[in-house]
Subunit: 116 residues, 2 copies
Amino acid sequence: MPRAATTSDVFNAIAEPRRRQIIEMLARRGAVAVSALVVTLGMPQPAVSKHLGVLRKVGLVSVSKQGQQRLYELEAKELKLVHDWAKKFEQHWSHHLDRIKQRAERRAREQRGLSN
Amino acid sequence: MPRAATTSDVFNAIAEPRRRQIIEMLARRGAVAVSALVVTLGMPQPAVSKHLGVLRKVGLVSVSKQGQQRLYELEAKELKLVHDWAKKFEQHWSHHLDRIKQRAERRAREQRGLSN
DNA sequence: TTGACATATTCCCATATGGGAATACAATTG
DNA sequence: CAATTGTATTCCCATATGGGAATATGTCAA
C-alpha cells in the first residue's frame, strides 16, 4: 500500500512544505490570485495550481472567481484540527521543559555552591 | 520528484494515521514496549517497528533498552512545532467562527422579528 | 550452547507523488 | 471573430511509500 493520499487528510495536505508556504501567504494576504502566489513564491504556475487543488480538496482553501482570476482564501478552521490534535500533548512538552529548567537551575545552584 | 520523505519532517511523520495512533498511545501510557503497541493497536510487529523508526528519525520518540524489550517514549517537544505552526492561524479560524456566530444571531433576530 | 522470545531489517510490490513541459480551457480585450 | 492573459489539466518520470512475508539480530534463561 502506498502512502495515504495527500488529499485524504489535512495532516497529509500540510506535509508538503510548499503547501505550508501557500497557507502562510494566504493567511497574511487574505484572498490572493494564483498569479500573485506564482510571483511571490517563485514557483511555476502549474505547481501552484496543483498544490491549490490539494488544499481545496481537503477544505483548507476556498476559491472565488474575479474576472479571469481565481482568488484563493484560507479556510483556517481546518487548521484548528491540527492545532487541537497537537495541543493534546501540551502538558507533555511543558513537563519536559520543566525538567530541563529544573536541571539547569540545579546546575546553577551547584555552581554557586562550588564558587562560594 | 517524489513526495518528501516521511523522515524529513515532523509534519511528514505525523501525516500517517497509524503513527498518530502510536503517538497518542505513548502520550497516554508513557514508556511502552513494542509488543504492547503491537497488542493494543493490533498491527503486525514489523509495521510497528517501521513506524517507530520513522518517529525516531524525526525525534518524536526516544528508545531505551530494558532487557530484551525496547521502551519507546514520546518526545513531545517536537509536537510543539506543529502546535505553534497551527496556532499562527488561530485568529483566522476564530474570526471565521465569529462570522458564523454573527450570522446565526442575525438569523435569530430576524426570526423573532417575524414572529412578533 | 541451545532455545525462546522481542525487535529490527530486508525484499518485493502496487501505488500516489511532485516536478517539468506541453496543452487545454476560460475570460477578457480589440 | 482572433489574440491575449490567467488558470487548470494532462502526460511522463524518478522516487519513497506502507504492507506482507521472511529473516536477521539481540537478549535472556536453562
